[in-house]
């Protein structure tokens, strides 16, 4: 403040003269003796700002902004692509899962059929064996029965001949045999 007043005091001598020349008192803005100076420096400042802006600042900011826009667009596109890929992968996974399931079902069915076939074969074999054994046994039984019958006939003939001789009668063997056979049939 002090320096300002001092400066004011210095300017008094010239200031009074200038006021006399017609500028309104109290408003430095209307002191036209400074206008040339201010306009000169203003034009220099404006030209400087204009050159700096149009040559350096504005193209740089524009490029940064467009670059950012490009980056955002690219990133969005990449994200979209990745999303599609993920969907594809999911579909492939599901497909593989379904395939594996059907494969498993098929294997189960195959194995079942195989086991069934083995079982059937084994059953058939066992049946055949059983049948063969049964036939063999039957044959043995028949043989034993025949043998027994034979023995009974012989024993009967012998017994009959003995009985006849014991009664004091004699008879030839043939008659006795016929008679025994006839009785045994009846």
């Amino acid at each position: 403040m002090a320096t300002e007043t001092h400066g004011d005091g210095l300017a008094d001598a010239t200031g009074v003269a200038e006021h006399a020349a017609g500028s309104a008192p109290g408003m430095p803005q209307l002191d036209f003796s400074h206008w040339g100076n201010q306009i000169f420096w203003l034009l220099i400042a404006l030209v400087a700002i204009y050159l700096i802006l149009s040559r350096i600042a504005l193209p740089r900011i524009a490029s940064v902004l467009s670059e950012r826009q490009g980056t955002i667009t690219n990133d969005l596109a990449a994200a979209e692509e990745l999303k599609l890929k993920a969907e594809e992968a999911e579909a492939a996974y599901n497909q593989a899962l379904a395939d594996a399931r059907t494969e498993a079902q098929k294997i189960i069915a195959d194995t079942k059929a195989e086991i069934q076939a083995d079982l059937d074969a084994a059953t058939a074999k066992a049946d055949a064996e059983i049948a063969a054994r049964a036939a063999e046994s039957e044959k043995a039984i028949a043989e034993i029965r025949d043998n027994a019958l034979q023995s009974v006939t012989e024993v009967a003939k012998d017994t009959a001949a003995e009985i006849v001789s014991a009664l004091g009668q004699s008879a030839d063997a043939k008659t006795i045999a016929d008679a025994v056979s006839a009785r045994m049939k009846g």
Partner: protein, 252 residues
Amino acid sequence: MATETHGAEEGGLVFHPMDQFIVKPLMGGDKIAFYTPTNAALWMALAVLCVVLLLVLGTRGRAIIPSRVQSIAELAYGFIYKMVEDVAGKDAMGFFPYVMTLFMFIVFANFLGLIPMSFTATAHFAVTVMLALLVFVTVTVVGFVKNGAKFLELFWVKSAPLALRPILAVIELISYFVRPVSHSIRLAGNVMAGHAVIKVFAGFAAVSLISPVSILAITAMYGLEVLVAFIQAYVFTILTCVYLKDALHPSH
């Protein structure tokens, strides 16, 4: 100026609300030629420096994810770009650096003027009249170059009844030539008035009884001035865009 000052000093309270606007040579002496480096030149140069700091050094990184300063620079760029595009139209984009220059200079000159003891370049009619005349001349030249004689349709309101048109033409013509006056006085007047009012309140602060009120008032005025500093720069710029639109599309 001198007599007033002495009168006030004698009364006890010291009011020099306009002293802050005095243009002084930086190197001493009292002669001011057009090339003398003055405080006005210094603060205009500081405005240029701030523009460089913000828009050139701030964007030095060219980062995809911007730093804080770069964000502000991009914000300023987008703000003016959108204003020119919306108000003046797409074909006015060639004037974008010009409009951006005006805005950046005014906004930084205004804000630098809010620093205590600083000098406010935009509070001077020499500066604002020159800025407004630059816009006026640009608009007029562009209007005639782009549209030829059709630019005069700006003054011939086709949507009005025929009988009214000559009267409207006179009014439009007057308003056209008043544009640079209002354009310049609005900016300098607002800035100067606010600064002067702050100085007046500061003068009252010398009386201890009033000083708390005075300091509160200065604070409130300062807040208002911060608003005014931006709004006046915005108004000046958007009016420039409106005038450019008139120059490019003169028919109503």
